[in-house]
Amino acid sequence: MSAAQIDEADEVEGVDAFRQRARAFVRDNLRRIEPGEVVGILRNDMTDEEELAEVEHDRKLQRMFFDAGLAGICVPREYGGQGLTPAHQRALNEELLGYEFAARMQSPTMSPCLAVLLDFGTEEQKRTHIPRILTGEEIWMQFLSEPSGGSDVAAALTTAVRDGDEWVLNGSKVWTTGAWWSDWALCLARTNWDVPKHRGLTVFILPLRREGVEVQRIALLNGFRDFCQEFLTDVRVPDTDRIGEVDDGWTVGTRWMFHERMLYNSPYVTAPPGQGHAGVGTRTILLAAREAGHLDDPQVRDLVGEARVLQLVGDALQERIKDGMTSGALSDQAAAIGRLYTGLAQARTTAIAYEVSGADGVVWGDDDGPLVDVGTDYLMRQISCIGGGTTEMARNVVSERVLGMPRERTLDRDVPFRDVPRSAS
């Protein structure tokens, strides 16, 4: 943060004073949580009822943050935020370490959705939705990926056709986490098929419980059912719910994806540091190795050591990338380096947990403690290299945008989108 920014922040509320206020709120109002990491990969450990109760609890927490003047730290005051700086957000996040927080309100609601609204929303859109988001009334989804599209999000087939003051949307979106209990969505749709793909897109917002929106839950191979697919059938959206210009959706989309890549580094996200570390970690591995009875085996110890190396190097790398991007020594595109590292490191760490578990990594009993479901996590191993943009896309970004190597040839650049070759299925 530059000196100028600090001065400005001081005029409002000093970071130290803010931190004291945040700390008092956190200690007085939030439940302490157990140390240690999230166990396993997207395990299905709640009933639907329990999950809905958690969602309600998160909304309540969000409201508490709002009432305490701790919601929307970097959001302008006119939209219900605090008008403070990223340094304040960081202080709040640090104070949250070890405490519960409104986890389901953060991604994608605060970033990218709220961030995109701030960047491109009309005054009315901002005044309508941002306060509701900050008070926990609205949880948002991003309608970005499509079943046909994979990494190529600009190849959206979901179509919006103008009908007077309204648009009629048809198509399908996928990989929305928790759409079945969410409220609104930011949606990328095709409004023009006769121009190259990036030039025929428009962004809309719509409520999930509108007629024509069908939300279907997707079962992952491990039984996890929080990802959803949506089917849009003649969904009517008023033109006032359009974000940005018609056919200029890729301008919005580029920024949208920037905010998405920021993840827990976004200044709009309120979460304790280290939230990137979902999945299997060193501690899980140590416990599994100990339970399996082979912690004295040098090969097992090698694997435990490797997992720890991956973790600490990952922490240092993320710190370096953040510093480098802040100081300008690294381009914004360098975030892809961190994404690539993390994807591979998490997949490897999951494999290590399975390896140290020996035979119990593939067959286990309910009473096997840390060995339970390690095998199922392993089957899910690649999710860290797929979710949030594949590692292949990250490699493209690193080589082309960071190292400046020639771009891949695309066959869809100067062709009307309707003529672009598409998947058979």
Partner: protein
Amino acid sequence: MQFDMSSDQEFFRETTARFLSDRVPVAELRRLSEGGAGYDDDYWRQGAELGWTSLLVDEAHGGGSISGDGLADLALVAFEVGRHAAPGPLVSANVVASALGSAGGDAHAEVLAGLLDGSALATWASTERRPHDRLGDVALTVRADGDELVLDGVKRPVESADRAGHLLVTGRTGDGLTQVLVPTDAPGVSVRPLRGVDLTRRFAEVRFDAVRVPASAAVGEVGGAAEQVERQLQLALVLACCESVGALQSGFDMTVEYASDRYSFGRPLSSYQALKHRFADMKTWLEASHAITDAAVAAVSARSPQAAELASVAKAYVGDRGDELLHECVQLHGGIGVTFEHDIHLFLRRQTLNRTLHGTPAEHRQRVATFVERGATHEEDAA
């Protein structure tokens, strides 16, 4: 899978493949996974009628092969079972059939007959619960007490223990190994079901608390079964590899097809060189897995001096590369690759299971190192 099948073998393989496609298509596998049973008795009996459990048993004992090389024939079945991610305790049933056929004598003829016609099941209780879960570690004791043998210990995982009438139990008597055929309903035997990665294959932990059986329950010599146990291990290893190679083949074929059908940025995935090169690596792993598995099957069948080493080499290689291959297949599918709806995980599950049963790649590399050391010592002795 070998290139030089006889026409009888090819017919046999096709019959098995057709049967599996009809009886256990992927939708059926998903159904079987939910019920808990894993497979229907009827399915297994029909498989046995096709010869699935007879191939390692002499004609004199009611068995018989297609080609004269029963293990080569069975390898084809195992490959197809893997290729369809099909249910059934194929490996453990055949290990027991082979043991009873060669060392079982008349005392166990009835159990063998049941295995051969699929009317009853016997399975191998070989590996043990941690901390005795490492390859070759046998802690269960078999003690002679007058005319009886007394078993104490825990076996795990034991395949299909819940529906097997008998268990071929590998135990320790002093410094030697002993094998005993124990009825699952004998007093002192308790079976506790476990969960696992495969959709249709079921395993249990089996406890033996002072289980008493007549001395005639022994299969082979008390305290002298080490060679037989090694033979059974080799059979289990190579058959598991055959299944795995089948699973790899399915996963790979499915992914090659996907990559050519799926377009991204106006081009099929298969036109991206970074992916093409990974497919080249996968193809290499796949062909190498076929190759080493075939070599190990042939060596084990011929009881060659290299059989033990090649079986472990195959297990280590297919276990290791196979996992990577199928995870690459998942990766190349993207999000859909981790959904329950997509078929790729059926094959990943089968590979993952087989990689670990009867020794992980790391354990087999330790065993291979011992063979290397011994080989070098022999050379030096000879010099």
